[in-house]
Structure formats: structure tokens, C-alpha cells
Amino acid sequence: MDPTRDNPIIRFTTFWWGIGTFLIFALLLAVVWSFNGKTPVTLEDVVAKARYETRAKVDQAQAAELSQDAIKAAMPEMAKKLAAAKPAPVEKPDQVIPDSPTAKKLAAANPPPPAAPTPPAPVESPSSTPPATGQDAPKP
């Protein structure tokens, strides 16, 4: 056995050579990636370009219709009008809870009109029964 081939220095350097060999692939991959790190252009990107142009046009048109400056300018005036307006109470009997004291009070103040008498139901004769053949009955 050749003693010069096996000593702590060779073992130490071989250890790091081994670790380096294992990691060299990751390093090479990182180098390749750094030189070729462009974002891939896909079909989706090409189609998206036209979509973004359309969106820009729509945004522009909408901005031309109603500008933010006009809205901001109108807001103080509108706020003054709203502040000056006196709120009026809203009377809505349909919001009163049934059978509550308020409902009874309202019912006492406005009694419902008397119900009209119901007419007697007409007696149907056998001749008025529509034919069972599915055809339309003769009109009177």
C-alpha cells in the first residue's frame, strides 16, 4: 500500500471535491439560467398584448366620459345641498308590526270598509261540460 495516497490532507481535499462535484450541476444550472433568464414569451403573452391595448382604449374612453376632476369639483357643492336639506319623517304603515299597539291604534283610527256580499256560485248544467275529445267547446 502506498502510504502517500492516504493521508488526512488528501481525505480533506477529496471531501470538498466530492461535495463540489455533487453541487457543480446546480452551479452550472444557475450560470445557464442567469445568462438565459428571460421571461419566456408564450402564446398567452402575445394574445394578452392585444387585450391590454383594448383595455387601455376602454379606460381612456371612460376617463373622457366622466373625469375625476369634475366629480371632485361637484362633490363640495352636492355636500352643501345635502347638508342644507331637512330630513322629513317617513310614514309607512306597511312597516308597522302586526298586532303591535301602533297597529291596533292605526286600525282603530281607520276601520276597514265592510266586505261586499259574495254572489252565489252558478249551478253548472251537464250540457255546459266541455267535450272529452280534447276539442274546444263551442262558444256561446
Partner: protein, 487 residues
């Protein structure tokens, strides 16, 4: 110049004994934990196979859905069993071939535990629904750095042993083992960084994944197995390797061809069209290195048939080499982009090739090596030749059934998938009948691995037989008596 004097022979025996003693715990740890994961993998494979022909089986449990169980089955087979068995082989063979004792037992065992914890968390992650969905890379993304660090700690000692070996050239086994030690970080690191760290196009992600699978088989498991075969065959037969030149051709052709394989699985996908063709051609050309290694070793084995009949190590190695030849023949005929690839691309046929590679070839070679190595590191002989025979027979019949049935069934399934006049359900029904046979075969393989695990556990506990004679598949004395009676 050294000569075979009694002193040098005794010195060699002492050196080998010291190496075996130093590696007892790491080698047995990896073989034991690997075989335990193998049994778990076989069980998961059995469940997933049952679910193919009986979808209602355990259908109430989301954890046991087919997508999760199948992924857990494959990942435990690859990382739980395959990688740990490979660690055991690398550690022992590199130490023996370099003539150096292992001096990093503590760190190797610590890293081994880390590896097993990583696998366990990964499998739980898959079963809990956090798998990535990429074949052979289904573990949740946090697992791969853990496994990579553990790998580096486990094999760096073997790297150093190779560097400080006594003067002289490297043996062919060392070539293969060293190459596998370097190629694994390349494949594993590249694929994981590209898929988990750098965002890319999803179609290319599928391509990288297909390349990773092929790289794991041909750039890690195949070289480890071939390095083991090149050690076991001459040791057991007592014959030298048939041709050193052929061994070199086999090694370098594997190194040149194998990195190009894998992309054929994306034939028809929107990727550059040359990639599937290059992948298909490379997969077919792997026939060259595989046949070079197979011929080189089979000539030595077949020249010594008596030993083949007796030695469990040689019997398993022989079966592994035959599986390798079948695998590469299938690789030629199932990856033709314009004809057969369509029928094997999305069917059970691909599974057949994976199982043939991981179990038929790699695992059989490892079993053979385990029957050779374990008695040396434990200083005990295997307890029962019957258990070894059962392990062999159940494994052989099981793997033949799985591979053949998945191949034929997968091809028919793929043909039905390609026939646009048939509903998709017809292809599924075609495969279901074959899945029943695969379930039966998994039962046999599970049983065989149960025998192996029990036997290995007894050896690990040092309950093996004490004695100078190895445990052979047949009793040579009984064979002699039979022979003399016949005459």
C-alpha cells in the same frame, strides 16, 4: 511486487475482515430498512392493483384513493427500497474494492435515519394529498433537499475511499459505482431545481419529469446493479470477466447514450419534435451497454453451471441479468415513436417496464448481493435454504407474471385507446382483466419479500447459523449421493 504468500493472504483476510466489521451496522441498517420499505411498497402495490379492477375497494377512504396509493407504492419502491439497497452496495463494494475500512459510521447512520424520516414524511404527505403529481417525484417539495443532504453524507465516505485506494487502476465495478454516485446528484438536483425552484412551461415540466425517471433507472440503478454484478460474478464463479474491452464499451456506451433517453414519453406533446425521437432512439440504443454487460457476465456464469445451481447469490444475479436483457428488448420494441409507442405511452405497458427495471433487474441483483454480503458482515450463515428458495421462486414467478401481463395487457389497452371508434371505457375494461392477474402476482411477490425480510431480520439479530460452510440452494452432499446412486 506482491505475491500470494501465506503472509499476504492472511493480511488480505484480516483487511477484508476489518472492512466487513466496520460496515456491519451501516450495511445491515440500509438493507433492513430498505427491505421493510420494500414490503410496504409491495402492500401498497397490491392495494393499487386491486383498486384497478375493483374500484369500490376502500373507496370510502380518501387516503387510499388510487392516485395516492399508486404514487406511494412507486416512491417507496424507488426511494425506500431502491436507494437504500444501493447505499448498502456502494458502501460495501467501494470499501472492499478500495481496501479501506469505513471511518464515518456515525454520520452515515445519522444520515440514514434522516433519509428514512424524509421518506416517511414524504409518503405521509402523498397519502394526505400533498403529492406533486409528477411520477417518481411525488414527495412534497420540502422532501428533496433533505434527501439530497442525506445522500451526500452517506456516499461521500465512499468517494474518499476511492480516492485514497492503494495504487493501481480502478476495477470496472468501481467505475460503475463511482459513476452512479455522481450521476444521481446530477439527475436529482437538476430535475428538482428545474421543477420546484425555477418556474417553467408545464409541458417542459412533464418532459423533465420523464427524463428524470429514465435517468434514475439508467443513470443510477443500472450502474449500481452492474457494478454489483461485475463484483459478484467473478467472486462466486471464480472466473475472470470474459472481456475487459467489452466491459469498457458497455460502460462508456451507457454513459454516452443513457442521458438522452426518456423524452419519448412525450411523443405527440407540443415540444420540439426531435426530442421524442432522440429519447426513443437512446432508449433503444441502451440495448448495447446492457447486452455488453449481460454477455460479459453470463458467459462466466454459464461456464460454471454447477455453481449456478448451488449459489443463491449467483442464481439471483443470473435472473437479474436475464431481466435486464428482456427489459432492453422491450425498450427497443415499445419505444418506436411511429408505431408501438402510442400503445405503450398511456397504458400499463410503461408500468411493466418500470417494474421490470426496478424489481426484475435491480432488486434481483441486490438480493443476490445481499445473500453474498450479509454472511460476511454478520459472520453468520443464512439459516434456511428453503426460505431462500421460496424467496427466489415466488419472486421469479411473481415478476414474470407482473411484467408479462402488464406488457401484453398494456399493449392491448393502448391499442384500444388509440382506436377512436371505441369508447374509452372499452380500453379500461380490457386492462381490468389483466389487473386481476397482476394482483395475484403482487401477492406472490409480497410473500417472497416477507420471507426475505424475516430471514434478514434473523441475520441482523445474529441468529444465523454458525459454521464454515455457506448455505446453498441444494445440499451438495445429497446431490453427490444422488449422483453416485445414479451411476
Amino acid at each position: 511486487m506482491s505475491s500470494d504468500t501465506p503472509i499476504s493472504t492472511a493480511q488480505d483476510a484480516l483487511t477484508r475482515s476489518g472492512i466487513d466489521r466496520s460496515l456491519r451496522h451501516p450495511v445491515m441498517f440500509f438493507l433492513m430498512s430498505g427491505s421493510a420499505w420494500l414490503a410496504i411498497s409491495m402492500l401498497l402495490g397490491l392495494i393499487s392493483s386491486v383498486k384497478i379492477h375493483n374500484p369500490d375497494f376502500m373507496s370510502d377512504c380518501a387516503t387510499m384513493s388510487l392516485g395516492r396509493v399508486y404514487a406511494a407504492h412507486v416512491n417507496t419502491l424507488v426511494y425506500g427500497w431502491g436507494m437504500q439497497a444501493a447505499f448498502a452496495m456502494i458502501l460495501w463494494l467501494m470499501a472492499r474494492l478500495s481496501g479501506k475500512e469505513c471511518s464515518m459510521i456515525g454520520s452515515i447512520l445519522t444520515a440514514g435515519h434522516l433519509w428514512n424520516i424524509g421518506i416517511a414524511i414524504g409518503v405521509v404527505g402523498i397519502l394526505a394529498g400533498f403529492g406533486t403529481g409528477m411520477p417518481w417525484m411525488e414527495f412534497p417539495p420540502f422532501a428533496w433537499p433533505v434527501l439530497l443532504v442525506a445522500y451526500a453524507v452517506i456516499v461521500i465516505g465512499s468517494f474518499i475511499q476511492f480516492r485514497v485506494r492503494p495504487e493501481g487502476g480502478a476495477m470496472i465495478s468501481q467505475w460503475y459505482l463511482l459513476a452512479a454516485m455522481i450521476w444521481f446528484p446530477w439527475v436529482y438536483l437538476t430535475a428538482n431545481i428545474l421543477l420546484h425552484c425555477i418556474p417553467g412551461h408545464p409541458v417542459m415540466a412533464a418532459g423533465i419529469n420523464a427524463w428524470f425517471k429514465s435517468g434514475m433507472v439508467f443513470l443510477f440503478f443500472t450502474p449500481v446493479a452492474l457494478g454489483t454484478v461485475y463484483y459478484i460474478t467473478p467472486k462466486v464463479t471464480g472466473l475472470p470477466i470474459f472481456s475487459n474491452q467489452l466491459a469498457k464499451i458497455g460502460f462508456w456506451s451507457l454513459a454516452i447514450i443513457a442521458p438522452w433517453a426518456g423524452m419519448q414519453k412525450l411523443a405527440g406533446a407540443p415540444i420540439p419534435i426531435f426530442l421524442p425521437y432522440v429519447g426513443g432512439a437512446a432508449t433503444a440504443l441502451i440495448f448495447i451497454p446492457a447486452c455488453a454487460a449481460a454477455v460479459n457476465n453470463l458467459r462466466s456464469i454459464l461456464a460454471n453451471r454447477e455453481t449456478l445451481a448451488l449459489s443463491p447469490a449467483l442464481r439471483f444475479t443470473f435472473a437479474g441479468l436475464i431481466s435486464l436483457v428482456i427489459l432492453v428488448i422491450c425498450g427497443v420494441f415499445l419505444n418506436l415513436p411511429n408505431s408501438t409507442l402510442k400503445a405503450s405511452q398511456f397504458s400499463m405497458a410503461g408500468y411493466s417496464a418500470e417494474i421490470l427495471a426496478m424489481y426484475g433487474f435491480f432488486s434481483f441483483v441486490i438480493f443476490g448481493a445481499a445473500y453474498f454480503i450479509v454472511p460476511r458482515v454478520t459472520r453468520r450463515e443464512w439459516l434456511s435454504r428453503r426460505l431462500i428458495r421460496w424467496h427466489f421462486l415466488f419472486s421469479v414467478y411473481g415478476i414474470i407474471t407482473v411484467a408479462a401481463v402488464a406488457l401484453i395487457g398494456g399493449y392491448l389497452q393502448g391499442t384500444d385507446q388509440e382506436n377512436w371508434e371505441l369508447p374509452w371505457m372499452t380500453a379500461a375494461q380490457t386492462g381490468a382483466a389483466y389487473a386481476v392477474a397482476i394482483t395475484f402476482a403482487w401477492c406472490m411477490i409480497l410473500l417472497s419479500n416477507f420471507f426475505f425480510f424475516i430471514h434478514l431480520t434473523l441475520m441482523w439479530l445474529r441468529l444465523g447459523r454458525r459454521g464454515p460452510n455457506p448455505t446453498l440452494l441444494t445440499n451438495p452432499h445429497a446431490a453427490d449421493a444422488l449422483d453416485s446412486a445414479a451411476h
